[in-house]
Amino acid sequence: MKKLLTLSCAVCALSGSVALSQDLVFEPGDDDRFDWDSYNALKSDEFAGQSIRVFGPWLGQDRVLVESVIDYFEAATGITVDYSGSDSFEQQVVIDAEAGSPPDIGVFPQPGLAAELARKGQLKPLAEGTEHWIVDNYAAGESWAQYGNYLGPDGETHQYGFPFKADVKSLVWYVPENFEDAGYEVPETMEDLKTLTEQIAEDGETPWCIGLGSGGATGWPATDWVEDMMLRNNSPEDYDAWVKNELPFDDPKVIAAIEDYGWFSRQDDFVSGGAQAIASIDFRDSPKGLFDFPPQCYLHKQASFIPSFFPDGVEIGTDVDFFYLPAYADKDLGQPVLGAGTIFAQLTDNPVNAAFFEFLESPIAHEVWMAQRGFLTPYTKANADVYGDPTLKKMGDILTSATTFRFDGSDLMPGSIGAGAFWTGMVDYASGKSARDVAQQIQQQWNTLK
């Protein structure tokens, strides 16, 4: 009798997966750029019929995309994944974890909060060997593993987070034909970029569009700038020390980096709307100046996700393109790249979670999203040929060929600094406060945390 039951369960799981597979975006086995073997290897009915709850910040389009990836997991294992998204993810995951009804898996947009929950014992360490897996399989694997490595309540570090989905931050967007019209060249070094900026201003045009507005997170785009300038003025070791506050925030090296960003953002001639205005321009609106005629600006620095805020019909590669934010030629610091990633972590001991993380380790989970849009991965086994458009591939190349790869420092700092004092400090800097005052103010805040 029991056997019969198991059998019928397997049958219904099977029929379930058949029904599901019809909804998959790419028919398994069809396109041989995908690693279908990795998909087939996932097939199992160990947990068929069970379900897990995944909670993350992705809504709208992003939700559709992540669900299209999850579909493959459901089809292969018969496990039901209940994904829900919220734009107040951070608040809700705190409430749910504190109240004792956490989701099985949380998708953290930044590691700060995940580390905090890990410290409180609300995250559960991932399976043994996950850390090795990330080190072995991700480009710059050590850095990526560190990204999900937090101090647990027992005072020891464990691998809590699994990074999935990456963003490259060190990009400058421009309209190639506007460059042609004006006779500008894509700069190869930071010195060239500064010369170009001056030249555009001398021509009576505005070089940069910068917008720091982001509702509750206003100021963060400037933190990316400062981090990029940190990596271009100082050694990666200094950067790491800065993130850990071993190098104080008001150290001359940091102040110099802030001022280097200020070179671009604090001169009225260099930014659209004037230096004072950048804090009140929404970062989502700021790239639109590239597409006005005559152009409001010629350059816009922003991470790889920004094309979703370009006007309708703008084609990347034709109407707009990007170049790597170059390094100083005379500083010999290599080609540093700043990036960020999303972190999956488990909040319950549900044994089914392991199957989901196993899925995230399979190339197919990455490839399905890569082949659509807005997804980069450092996973070396994922086939770069499946990238949905050449732009993504170009970004992927920047990501995988960086000589120095560092994460968004504000994400790694304690939350009240990296998602608080640093942001507001940058807003103050934009409205005219000196870099030294801003840096001291942030350092003071950091001191109160010790």
């Binding site: 951070e90 705190v94 206003t218 009140s280 304690p414 998602a419």
Partner: protein, 331 residues
């Protein structure tokens, strides 16, 4: 559909349960201590001692569980560290006293407390009075009331649209800047103007709360008996005197209620600041400051709770004033 039946069922069960409780308990009380017979006097006294608690029972139960208990929890948390694990005594409050952001928030909150309740009540009273005799009065009222129906997020969007800023060489799409540049000035980033930006945020809450004040006050105005007014008119009172000498004193209690309610809304004001500036550029207020510490970045529930308690302590004067009022009514 099933869900709807469930909901309808709940309403019925809920209403039935309430009615049964109130009616049933009163019935039992009345039959235990009948207001007749030998001990009528004693019985009435006893019944009157118990009866208020029957009426208050459900409300007290719900308030106790859902509001008093969380407050007690916050007091406890505010004396502990971020995780609620270790007793830290007054450390969180000492931290508050030295935090410049806290000082900014409390000063801003005080400013809000002065401006918003007074202006909302003033406009509410004005609208209630002047629309009373207009033929299109109810239309006017609906229009003024409309902002009440819009969620805070919606209101945030609407006003961001009003305060929108574009560079001087671009076409303004924000109404305020369009008017401002139309008068020949340079466009302004209203929400970042030091000090004044607070007032631009307050405008949003005044815009919303005036509708509330208007509804309550216009009910009160209509409650004034015709005879009083006619007598005043016969005495030769002009419309101003009629309003300030006769009507306003009559509804003074209601004005106080409106004022109190809006004051409390102001103490808790969060969404508007959160959506529009998130407390930057010197616009921080207590509730948003508390939110920052409770849920943002590295949450510190201890400090967040301490801020919450400061908000609650600020309401004490209003509570005392209400106690005195209630005492006066009794005598």
């Amino acid at each position: 559909m099933e869900q709807f039946i469930y909901a309808a069922g709940t309403i019925l069960v809920g209403v039935f349960a309430c009615v049964t409780w109130f009616w049933g308990s009163n019935f039992i009380l009345d039959s235990m201590y009948p207001a007749r017979g030998a001990h009528a006097g004693r019985n009435i006294k006893r019944a009157n001692l118990i009866r208020p608690w029957l009426f208050l029972g459900p409300a007290l139960l719900i308030l106790g569980t859902y509001l008093v208990y969380p407050v007690a929890d916050s007091i406890w948390r505010s004396l502990h560290d971020a995780d609620g694990a270790e007793w830290v005594g007054m450390a969180n409050y000492r931290w508050l006293a030295s935090d410049p952001k806290f000082r900014e928030s409390i000063l801003n909150n005080l400013m809000w407390l002065v401006v918003v309740p007074s202006l909302s009540t003033f406009f509410g009273l004005l609208v209630a009075q002047i629309t009373d005799r207009l033929r299109w009065g109810s239309f006017a009222k609906s229009m003024i009331f409309m902002p009440m129906a819009i969620s805070f997020v919606g209101a945030g969007v609407i006003w961001k649209f009003v305060y929108d800023y574009r560079g001087a060489d671009q076409e303004q799409i924000g109404l305020l800047n369009a008017l401002w540049t139309g008068m020949g000035f340079d466009p302004q980033t209203w929400l970042t103007l030091p000090f004044w930006n607070n007032f631009f945020l307050m405008a949003v809450l005044i815009w919303i709360q005036t509708g509330f004040a208007m509804v309550i006050l216009s009910a009160a105005l209509r409650g004034i008996s015709e005879e009083t007014i006619e007598a005043a008119i016969l005495d030769g009172a002009n419309p101003w005197q009629l309003f300030f000498r006769i009507k306003v004193p009559q509804i003074w209690g209601t004005i106080a209620v409106v004022w109190t309610t809006i004051t409390i809304v102001v103490l808790k004001v969060f969404d508007i600041v959160f959506v529009m500036t998130n407390g930057q550029w010197g616009t921080q207020v207590l509730a948003n400051f508390m939110y920052d510490w409770m849920f943002r970045g590295s949450p510190d529930y201890g400090r967040g709770s301490a801020i919450a308690l400061v908000i609650m302590i600020l309401v004490l004067p209003i509570m005392i004033w209400n106690i005195r009022n209630a005492r006066r009514e009794m005598n």
